[in-house]
Amino acid sequence: MASRAILVTTMNPAIAVESLSFAWPGSAPLFGGLSFEVARGESMAVVGASGSGKSSLLALLAGLERPAAGRILVDGEELARPRPGTGLVLQDHGLLPWATIRDNVALGAKVRRFYGPDGLHAPPAPLAQMKGKTPMPRKSPEKRARRAARTAPEDDRAVEAWLERLGIDSIAGAWPSRVSGGQRQRAAIARSLVLEPDIILMDEPFASLDEATREDLRALTLEIRAERGMTLVFVTHSIDEALIVGDRILLLEGRSAGTESTGAADAAETRYRLFANSPGDMATRAGLKAALRAALGAAS
């Protein structure tokens, strides 16, 4: 079998999840001590049965929810709230119905200006070249400050550039309700990218799209990620999609999948597994697909 459970430890991970546990009010706890790291520039796909906590994990990584136990480090700092360098794209695009596509794409910049250049969420990343082909280096404090003070015209230029890059500049003045699902999702991606994120979190972003649009958008997303050296965490229910997207695949198994945990270590062992992937190697993908199917079949 090509797949294997692994524990990857990097020297300077973009994301480090340590002994994570979480529970929604009134629901059973999730994860039971989940620990893993995502290397800078790595693409990690997350798969799992329904209710295994895929979307909850993404909400935690986005800083939208706080862990019940354990902690999440992003860029070496404990995550306490949403961070402007992390983009989030949801299946239900999350566009404002009362704003045009252009205004939606510009929303992150508007929110930042709302708080002022020294405001609560002034983003740390410097203004990067829109079509740069090389991964971005770590940001210096001076560049961070300059980025935080980015002016409205600079924001406007970034918005227009991303509208064009995502192929939605022709519908920039339209309301989200008047464009296709694929165009809405392109706008959601552009909105995240305007803030120059170094991490992108995607929660089944293409699940509601037709096959052709899904393939187009997935290819575009991976192309932009590679260009900009972004770290990607991609939640999907599709094993095939996980195999295309992920350098590694995190398999979350529901509580019913394993034996009842007797302790944190045991729970961690039985509730998730990490698989190394080689998206370009068809033989590896075939073997891994079989292993993931078997694991998900056992979990459901």
Binding site: A59, A62, G63, L64, P82, P84, T86, G87, L88, V89, L90, Q91, D92, H93, G94, L95, L96, P97, W98, A99, L107, G108, K110, V111, R112, F114, Y115, L120, H121, P123, W175, S177, A188, R191, L195, L201
Partner: protein
């Protein structure tokens, strides 16, 4: 609504009125043409001032109810804790016909302009509060989460999500209750004032027995309600273009 449809509806109402006036054939129901001539004449005799007095009161009532009701509704819709505390109160007070509070308001506030505006406020306030609260509650969590992920805290969520989301609810609540507000205005203007369409209609009809002038006042009050209705429609077209 199309202008042609409105014109046809107006013609239909005038026709029915004309037929009824001929059938009844008494001074209590003058023909539309006579009322139109009287209306034209009364325009030079103070009817516009009565109209403006009524418009001022109803506009003030609308403004205060939106300024108080919309933030209160947003606060309840945005905060589960607030809503838990105040929801039972709203649940009890909302279905009570607010007209029953007219005597209470007269007793507590008096019978001046402030009381008249307060009555309109009470009618509109609950409507605005409930519709805005329900609208704020109905905003999808995914939408709020995605905007929070862009760095929006509570203030930015209010500015970019909750406030614009609730504008259609505010306008809908006004549209639903502006008719009742004008009706209550008529009752309120029967007391302690010499300005306002309510006073004008009552004075012309019951004291002077000038029925064409009384109907001219009724037409003016209808135009006031209609104007407010069209004004709200116009505001919706301007403020909520995505709903079209």
């Amino acid at each position: 609504m199309k202008r042609r449809d409105l014109l046809l509806a107006t013609i239909a109402i005038i026709l029915v009125w004309e037929i009824l006036a001929v059938a009844v054939n008494r001074p209590i129901l003058p023909a539309p043409a006579e009322v139109a001539l009287t209306f034209w004449r009364e325009l030079g005799r103070g009817l516009p001032l009565h109209f403006l007095a009524s418009l001022g009161r109803v506009a003030a009532g609308i403004a205060v109810s939106v300024l108080v009701g919309a933030p209160a509704g947003l606060a309840l819709g945005m905060s589960k804790r607030f809503d838990r505390v105040f929801a039972p109160l709203v649940y009890i007070l909302y279905p009570i016909p607010k007209v029953v509070f007219v005597p209470v308001i007269f007793l507590v506030i008096g019978i001046g302009d402030f009381a008249k505006i307060a009555m309109i406020f009470i009618i509109l306030f609950f409507q605005v509060l409930v519709l805005v609260r329900d609208q704020a509650r109905a905003i999808p969590l995914a939408l709020v989460a995605s905007v929070r992920s862009l760095g929006a805290g509570r203030r930015a969520l209010f500015r970019f999500v909750y406030l614009p989301a609730c504008v259609p609810a505010i306008l809908t609540s006004l549209r639903q209750s502006v008719g009742t507000a004008v009706a209550v205005l008529y009752i309120a203007e029967l007391f302690a004032t010499k300005w306002g369409l309510g006073y004008y209609i009552y004075f012309q009809g019951s004291t002077l027995m000038d029925y064409p002038a009384m109907y001219a006042g009724v037409v003016a009050m209808s135009l006031l309600g209609l104007g407010l209705y069209f004004g709200i429609d116009g505001a919706e077209r301007r403020l909520c273009p995505w709903t079209r």
